[in-house]
Symmetry: C2
């Protein structure tokens, strides 16, 4: 089949490899084929080199860990530098991209690398793996036909309240689930903001430590949440989802 | 750890099991632990019983396929009927929920079942598996920190054009990627609508047959797409993503 935008002749493939969200064994969350591919890549671009090495240690590597070249994608890495990292791909070598947790290029800075790969006509291959956004949406029972992921809500109370109200109105008007995350030490405050700000009949899902030992997912109306003791969220990554 | 909303005493778990998006071998897209869990469940709720059986045939089942009870989640299934299906869970048995393709309760009717499970205090466990929404977003290189999945755009040309323009404005204002799907036989028309309607500098990603033999992902500006021959999209599921 001819394609209007063929990959660069003889170029390698940039493999987008998801890493774990928790300490659970790798066979819980990464398909065998993705493990095999990841174990054979000679170089990686990683959000965090330390967590990338911890991920690689879970694989049956085809080469010693210290021989795998890992580039760290900091804020300081400009396009010229990333382009330099990608040169082995243009010679025909494969390369991996990993996030600090979950899927690369989703809710992390990796999209810059993928965007540049497209500009260089390098083939990009996404592999199946864990995403708290998707796992939380599946488990929430909220509208899964239309949803928006917003990242973080504003921290300042007034701006936060206003933003949550606005997302709630969009949810009602468009029948759209609203998804957001928070840094763990602010989870309890976020939960309080949500139950104080949203309408009584709005359904709120709390999805804690997805794939981990303390995984817990519960969906209740705001009215119900207000009657219950607050859940224990301070120590684990948590996704909040709601639908008006 | 005590939870504010404990699961019903001795209840089983509703396992949300993703199924394949393509004909590729199951080890490409489903972690071993999910395969093991799915292979041992005595009953399922499925969007489509035929595709559910095709999925189960890919597993090393612990019981004969014909002994697995499969309830079909049609539009006619009301809450009373679904509640009836869920009764084994209240006796302590586990059960599975599967979609026709990809992750249950995302872009399919399964969320109704999960919502009812939450109302009955039944534990819900999401398993990692393929989602064209997530794979497409990863591979697009578009903004992954904020995105909205809209399902289908309107079919009528004027309404479609207006809707695409509106999503493009939201994308620009909120730095949010916009995701939509189309039925395969309308993919070519959708591609044409997108390149005729969106601004020249907007980036459009076409993600075709994700995880399949004809997987192909390309991100270009509208200006570039207009100069290129149209891609071959008529026969495969395709996700369209754009960012202004």
């Amino acid at each position: 089949m001819t394609e209007p935008v063929p990959s660069a002749a003889n170029s390698g493939t940039l493999h987008l490899i998801p890493v774990g969200l928790s300490e659970r064994p790798i066979n819980d969350w990464l398909p065998t084929a993705a493990q095999q591919k990841a174990s054979a890549l000679p170089s990686y671009i990683a959000e965090n080199a330390k967590t990338a090495r911890a991920f690689l240690k879970q694989l049956q590597l085809t080469q010693p860990l210290q021989e795998i070249n890992i580039h760290t994608l900091t804020d300081k890495a400009d396009d010229a530098m990333i382009r330099q990292w990608l040169t082995p791909l243009l010679r025909g070598e494969d390369m991996g991209l990993v996030s600090e947790a979950g899927c690369p290029a989703v809710a992390d800075p990796g999209a810059r690398v993928v965007a540049l790969a497209h500009r260089l006509n390098i083939r990009v291959k996404p592999w199946v793996g864990p995403s708290s956004i998707l796992l939380g949406l599946m488990a929430s029972g909220l509208e899964g036909q239309r949803f928006a992921f917003h990242g973080y809500a504003p921290v300042k109370p007034d701006a936060r309240k206003q933003q949550l109200k606005q997302w709630e109105q969009i949810s009602l008007r468009q029948k759209q689930s609203q998804l957001l995350i928070e840094t763990p030490y602010r989870n309890v405050a976020m939960f309080q903001s949500l139950i104080e700000t949203l309408a009584l009949q709005t359904r709120l899902c709390v999805a804690r430590d997805l794939t981990g030992e303390h995984e817990w997912v519960s969906t209740r109306s705001i009215a119900d949440w207000r009657r219950l003791p607050a859940p224990d969220l301070a120590s684990w990554p948590t996704l909040f989802l709601f639908q008006a």
